[in-house]
Amino acid sequence: MLREWERCPRHLLVSERSNFQLERSRHGVAVRGHPFNYRVSFLIPECGALPVKLKSVIKNFGKYYLVKDLPLHEFVNHDFINIFIKKGAFYALSYNTKIDQDNTAAVLPTGKLILSVDKDTYEELGLQGQPSRYSGKKVMRYIVTIDLTDASFLPDTKKHKRVLWALKENMPLKFDFLLAWHSTDVEVSTAMSYFSKLKMKEYEPNITSSILRDLHCPVLQNSELQGKPEESCSAHELFDWLGAVYNNVDCNNHSYSFISTYCCPQPSAVLSQAYMCTVTGFILPEKIHHLMDHLCQYFDEPKLAQWVSLTVHGFADSPVSWKESEHGFHKSGENLYNFVIFNNQDYWLQMAVGTNDDCPP
């Protein structure tokens, strides 16, 4: 039994090293494939004030909406599909639903409605689904996927009627939804009036920033992902250190300290200052990609910093992590990624997931 205790649930960390200029570079896949983002943070070493360009980028992250008691059959409605799904990227995620105990729903920009429902709901719902991959012998959770853009999903087809019946008459599921929409040619706020008959509220992402002084910072070398002893730190060590920075952990400890023995990974250097900015809300991947492009351009002019870091936290209770790979909540629902952008357009990408997750792309 003790042996059993000492085992920890599996977690994965994928580290990649590439260059933005490369044709095969997969940074876009990682960013665009991660639909539901809760927090975007970036750290710029040796920077005292945010460049104006970057400031305007994070100011224009766009609004998101919270719609209360939105019945699910609204998403199956063809007016909705024609307005939102076909003319842009629509993102919706049920709010305040815990995926390890409640039913959860999400609409992906690819036009898929994903329901993660418990066993009892599934048995009553009447829609075909798949047992969750992480459910073990006794299946307690099912994933129902409805492709709203499917050619056979037209009004008055058998399939559409069945889905509509299930969600409207048989089991009128309702959720509070976080909504956001990205479209190039239609004004978002006018389109959102579609939901005006429901209780809807508009939100702006919350921006906080701070300047850190005299920060111990690990030394990185862009070609050494695994690090070199005595010369540079590995990607994983950096990942850990970033966590310490964002959590305001004191890195100046002695090995004999009673409270904490946590130290900055070695070798390290002291930064006189670093700019840290955090944006919290329901943030679209398109905006993150936009921000990343601007962070790359940060090095167009010569800078003191060797690198900048961009960290994105996903929603712990989202039914998907990347693309359509299933996401679950075991002890924690982490799905996050981090870019370290070097001044020569090299980058490191780290993607971390917890126990009930597929390997990131």
């Binding site: 205790w5 000492e6 085992r7 920890c8 599996r10 977690h11 994965l12 960390l13 994928v14 580290s15 990649e16 090293r17 590439s18 260059n19 490369l22 095969r24 809760y38 927090r39 943070s41 919270l66 709010y95 815990k98 509220k201 939100y203 992902l225 695994q226 990607a235 994983h236 990942f239 850990d240 966590g243 310490a244 964002y246 959590n247 305001n248 952990v249 004191d250 009673f258 409270i259 904490s260 023995t261 946590y262 919290t280 809300g281 960290t311 936290h313 996903g314 929603f315 712990a316 209770d317 002890k331 924690s332 629902g333 982490e334 996050l336 981090n338 090299d346 971390a352 917890g354 390997c359």
Partner: protein, 131 residues
């Protein structure tokens, strides 16, 4: 720990991918100590002492010898981030759960978040409070 690594060397040598399984040796826990009544004061050493005594009560001297770190401690909200080796996570968690009092004040630990990645504790989407 098991490490799975694969390296794809394409025609471009600058691309590298590495998949690491269970790479983190530590688990991080975000916890909060709650008291029934107000006005209890506690600083970081006392806080650590409290957790140590909880470990000793449940797991004996072996449990009390478990090394863990208090990375942050907020004296106002009694919230803290702990670092514990993977092997000790269950022991520490169970000891925290079963602790019931501090100097005759009733109290309880709430485990807010755990993760093998410290960075994951920086963003907990369950804390997103919109009215």
């Amino acid at each position: 720990m098991i490490k799975v690594s694969k390296e794809k060397s394409h025609e471009v040598a600058t691309y590298e991918r590495q998949v690491q399984k269970n790479v983190s040796e530590y688990h991080y826990m975000k916890i909060r100590l709650e008291f029934q009544e107000k006005g209890v004061h506690l600083n970081a050493p006392h806080f650590k002492q409290l957790i140590l005594s909880a470990l000793r009560d449940l797991h004996g001297e072996v449990g009390a010898a478990l090394p863990f770190d208090i990375l942050t401690f907020d004296e106002k909200s009694f919230s803290a981030i702990l670092r514990i080796s993977n092997r000790g996570l269950v022991k520490l968690w169970s000891a925290l759960t079963l602790l019931g009092s501090y100097q005759n004040h009733k109290c309880a630990f709430r485990v807010l978040q755990t993760s093998p990645f410290l960075l994951a504790l920086a963003g907990n989407s369950r804390e997103l409070a919109l009215d």
